[in-house]
């Protein structure tokens, strides 16, 4: 049965098709052998979590993967982020902010759901922080 859904409810809102696609078929998932760092980040509001794993050389991301459990926004955001990481320097990633994630998602995100959108980036940045601290 194909019923049309009010576009203001879904199409124009948060749950656009490409978001649901990244949610259902997340890219770059799993872990990496010989990873340089791996960091698991929790969202205390809901208990959702994302672990970002990456291989680094010359202060540049060679490969990055993530795994976790969470809502469509957190998982799609991490998937979208994962596609942009290869070849980026650690310094570049450290400067990424909230605006970068909102740009990748290009959907309206309220203050509460912003935490979901940021979960993957926070995991990645904390992983880099630990990697640099441990030399």
């Amino acid at each position: 049965m194909t019923e049309t859904i009010d576009p203001s409810y879904a199409g124009e809102g948060i749950y656009r098709e490409f978001i649901l696609d990244h949610y259902k078929n997340p890219r770059n998932t799993g872990t990496l052998p010989n990873a340089s760092f791996s960091h698991k980040e929790f969202n205390p509001v809901c208990g959702d979590h994302i672990t970002f794993t990456a291989r680094v050389s010359d202060e540049t991301i060679q490969e990055a993967r993530f795994q976790g459990h969470g809502c469509a926004i957190s998982q799609a955001a991490a998937s979208l982020l994962s596609e942009t990481l290869k070849g980026k320097t650690l310094e570049e990633i450290k400067t990424l902010q909230r605006e970068h994630m909102l740009e990748l998602l290009s959907i309206p995100i309220g203050p509460v759901r912003t935490k979901c959108a940021m979960l993957g980036l926070v995991a990645l940045k904390k992983g880099i922080e630990e990697y640099e601290k441990n030399g």
Binding site: I5, Y9, G47, G68, A72, I73, Q75, R113
Partner: protein, 419 residues
């Protein structure tokens, strides 16, 4: 039946916030377990207090302060009587959490290393973390009674002569389970322990009488029972409260102070340090008057019939409702919709003007027992109607279409289904 099902329609007009549209639709408020809405009668009582009687209590020797003191003390009497307690056994706190912190601090002070505190796996963080932390500090052991698949506790509490405190929720804020606290108190007393009850979800929804239940302590919040935020209650048996040390020290809780020592005030003031939330106490008393006028039996019957109806409407949608079946359970409906994360569901329902909660409901250990990271939760109160449940069901159906989950298949997570 007609009278009980119409309670929601009858009282809805008393609640100004329920007349306001949300995202262009009439608001359906289904998060009363988190906090209830307040009727005009409560808001007016607080306003009248501020406009006519406002002064500090127990201090000024002038008429206004006397009037404020009378109003504040009468609030203790009104709220205490609502649960069968005397005025001196009715302590006002900030909320249930503060009441339970007071108990955890004060009761564990007299225990010895190796003594046990028995909790259950279905406790809210507020009836878990205070005991856990004080136990760590004071060398005590905390044990947890298991919760069955149906969300129920075992009949035998497995208490020992080391068990000194049994603290249990009267009604689970996740499962809706109503625990047999009368029987639990009996077992606690037989083992020589005191029985503490977290009544945050029970006192607002059905008749509670501390004398009939025989419990030693009982804690609840004003804001979940039509009252304002910032006011909560701790009931305790008089002889037990008298033997306990205060939790907070300062003004109003003293009888005489010298540079060397302090003599504490009488009950309940001994446990109410500092200027209290006076207008909020007056507001809570007004909430109690409102509930008494309706009758708690009627409130509960209304919620029971709505809960039954919610099961009928939601289960055919492939929704899993956690906790016991309708009958001896409250109107807290935690549920999972296959393939839709509770936060995504909350966002979609919000677009239809429906407010539900999504997440772990401050019961993270219980989520582990249920095998979920979170659930969606619709919680009912006296102002909800069958129409609210219909709107909820229709909106869940719409959300399922957005997520293409009509096949009810579980979405593969990015780590292959593990959490």
């Amino acid at each position: 039946m007609i009278t009980t099902t119409s309670l929601g329609e009858k009282v809805k007009e008393d609640f100004p916030i329920l007349q306001k549209p949300m995202n262009g639709k009439p608001l359906v408020y289904l998060d009363s377990s988190a906090t209830s809405q307040r009727p005009r009668q409560v808001l007016e009582a607080m306003n009248l207090f501020y406009e006519n009687k406002n002064a500090n209590v127990h201090r000024g020797i002038y008429r206004l302060s006397e009037e404020a003191t009378v109003a504040y003390e009468e609030a203790h009497t009104t709220v205490g009587a609502f649960i069968g307690a005397a005025m001196e056994e009715t302590i006002f706190t900030k909320n249930t959490t503060e009441s339970l912190n007071l108990l955890a601090y004060s009761l564990t002070k007299k225990l010895e290393k190796g003594d046990e505190i028995m909790l259950t796996q279905m406790e809210h963080h507020s009836n878990l973390v205070p005991w856990q932390q004080l136990a760590q500090e004071r060398g005590l052991t905390v044990r947890f009674l298991p919760v069955s698949k149906d969300g129920e506790l075992p009949q035998d509490l497995q208490l020992s002569n080391k068990t000194k405190i049994v603290s249990v929720t009267h009604m689970s804020n996740v499962l809706g389970t109503i625990n047999p606290v009368k029987e639990i108190a009996k077992q606690a007393h037989d083992a020589g322990a005191v029985c503490v009850v977290d009544a945050a979800q029970s006192v607002p929804h059905f008749p509670v009488d501390v004398q009939a239940l025989g419990v030693d302590f009982l804690a609840f919040s004003g804001h979940k029972m039509l009252g304002p935020t910032g006011i909560g209650v701790l009931y305790g048996k008089k002889h037990l409260l008298e033997g306990m040390d205060p939790f907070l020290y300062g003004g109003d809780m003293i009888r005489e102070v010298t540079f060397e020592q302090t003599q504490f005030n009488d009950l309940p003031w001994k446990f109410e340090a500092g200027t209290p939330n006076i207008a909020e106490a007056v507001g809570l008393a007004a909430a109690v008057d409102y509930l008494k006028k309706l009758g708690m039996d009627k409130v509960f019957a209304h919620e029971q019939s709505l809960t039954q109806y919610a099961f009928e409407r939601l289960e055919p949608l492939g929704v899993t409702i956690h906790g016991p079946p309708p009958g001896n359970r409250g109107g807290v409906l935690s549920f999972s919709v296959p393939g839709i994360h509770p936060h995504d569901l909350s966002t979609l329902l919000d677009q239809d003007g429906i407010a539900i909660r999504g997440g772990h409901h401050c019961a993270m250990p219980l989520m582990g027992v249920l095998g979920v990271t979170g659930t969606a939760r619709a919680s009912l109160y006296l102002y909800n109607t069958k129409d609210d449940i219909d709107r909820l069901a229709e909106s869940i159906e719409k959300a399922k279409k957005v997520f293409n989950q009509d096949d009810a298949g579980q979405r593969p997570t990015s780590n292959g289904g593990r959490r």
